[in-house]
């Protein structure tokens, strides 16, 4: 039995009087697509923020390949090979798409600021190599047309893809996607589905995603974790979870007694 890629152990977080996440445990295995679903306020994004160490858990811990990451600063977690996107798109607005993607290569830099200031030969070589690697991502996601555009002027759907591209530029081992299809039209959602499948199969990256579009969830996910009010409802294949009475109740409300 191999160790899970990511493991949440009795994870809890409390904001004042609110238990946002209450004793949640789950394991994500290498090379699977693992989805978190649940109504608004179920604690899905909070779990993402716990994994990327933007929040500290009140109790429990997160392990990445056996190593506890929930006590590390966020930038160190990123260096372990965990990339993420944000629900409300957090791109670097006043920079070009290319520059945004190059920031994704930041973890892999080996030069210090003094070398950068002199723009030594090693900085130049590293820059050309970064560019080559970023171009692969641009080609993968068909962003050639937008390469030199400022993010501030791009439509919402494109920004969504740029954010995915930026996360992929990190060449992560684990990718966290926070509502990848929100705000996208049917066609764009379709593309997003293909890309997630390719990310898993061709790039071999494990994906955890938060998603409301059940069509997309059933299409790409290997396993689904349903949450409500910070607690685990059920875990299983997309079909099992959708048929679970607790999930139906959480989304549609219970039968009146």
């Amino acid at each position: 039995m191999t160790t899970p890629m990511l493991e949440a152990v009795n994870l809890s977080v409390r904001f004042g009087g609110l238990m946002a996440v209450n004793d949640v445990s789950f394991s994500v295995w290498p090379n699977e697509v693992f989805s978190l679903i649940g109504p608004n306020g179920a604690g899905k994004t909070t779990i993402f923020n716990l994994i990327s160490a933007l929040y500290r858990p009140t109790a429990g811990e997160v392990r990445f390949e056996g190593e506890v990451i929930s006590r590390m600063p966020p930038h160190v977690v990123a260096r372990h090979g965990i990339a993420r996107t944000f629900q409300n798109i957090e791109l670097f607005e006043h920079a070009t798409v290319l520059q945004n993607l190059l920031v994704g290569r930041h973890c892999h830099r080996h030069t210090g600021w003094w070398q950068d200031m002199l723009f030594t030969g090693s900085v130049r070589r590293a820059e050309l190599e970064f560019r080559r690697q970023v171009e692969e991502v641009i080609e993968f996601l068909d962003l050639q047309h937008y390469r030199d555009s400022m993010v501030a002027g791009l439509p919402y759907g494109v920004r969504k893809v740029v954010e995915l591209a930026r996360a992929l530029s990190m060449r992560p081992r684990l990718l966290l996607l926070d509502e990848p299809s929100s705000g996208l039209n049917t066609e764009e959602t379709e593309d997003m589905g293909f890309w997630i499948e390719d990310i898993k199969q061709d790039l071999g990256i494990t994906v955890i995603m938060v998603e409301h579009d059940m069509g997309l969830v059933s299409r790409v996910s290997d396993r689904v974790l349903a949450l409500n009010l910070g607690e685990v409802l059920t875990l299983g294949t997309p079909e099992e979870v959708q048929a679970h009475p607790g999930v139906i109740e959480a989304y549609l409300g219970g039968v009146e007694a």
């Binding site: 957090e90 920031v103 950068d116």
Partner: protein, 358 residues
Amino acid sequence: MHFIFKTRYAQDINLFRHGGQTFWYAALALALVAAPWLLSEYTLSQFTFIGIYAIVCLGLMLLAGFTGQVSLGHAGFLAMGAYTEAYLQANGWPFMISLPMSALVAGITGIMIGLPALRVKGMYLSIATLAFGFILEEVVVQAESITGGNAGRQVGALIIGGINFDDGVNFYFLVTGIAVLCILGVLNLLRSPTGRAFVAIRDSEVSAQSMGINLAHYKTTAFAISAALAGIAGALYAHKIRIITPDQFGFLQSIELLMMVVIGGLGSIQGAIFGPAFWFVVQQFIVTGKDWLPPAIGQQTGLQPTIFGIILIAIVLFEPMGLYGRWLKFRTFLEIFPFYRKGMFKRQKSYMKSERMK
């Protein structure tokens, strides 16, 4: 109208992207070298001042325009550089060593001031740096044995390798040379991972962190580099003015520096040079132009600051991107003539304001 056909990635990395740019910057360099023979002694002295202020503004631009950390205490770093230079020079240190020392002392002060930046943001950071400026001014007044207190401190003649640099032309070349080196250094930073990390922090701290950028490290680096540049400018300033007093490095100076950067255009290196250039040139024009007016108006007290103030307000109102933004529009107009349209630079309102995670 021309189109650059790119065939190598290096074309996006090089400082000069195409032949046209190389040509115009070479022409500018030539003009700077020829300036002493073309300009009067007084004008050349004003150019030297522009050069010195361009170095400070470059540092402030890096910090405020590229890293998003607005400092209202930059005159303090200028003072650190000026007094370090004056003190070390009086103790017989050669300029080649005392100049880097001035940068170093100012840079270390910058790190100390940068530390609160790790905790506070935006307006609160500005107030913290403002307080630092006040404290430093007071320290300069009190430390009489080093700074000469309110009476001021004389700065000796600048002699490097037997050449007297107190002479206007020599000093102009020294300042211009150092300014060009500083600009190249900052340009290099901005086309490398460090510069991208700065911009990332400016635009979204939370995603910068998630990209593996160590916020504490890069914010402190930005403060240190910015302060070190101010220190270099301070040392040159001391030699230019020759007598330095604490009131030259007060709150007003910090505000003026920030104004220059904003007028020049936040987030552009050209802006850091346009800003101080505009500052000195326009003030000069107002002084000269006053004599053309009828004496009843021209001799009014406070006329110069009033006109200058109105001009500054007009720029901020009508050109939020500063002089660099205006220049960009003008250049585009020429490049694509006659196809320029009025609303081309109007930014689309972003329809989704992201809720930033605090």
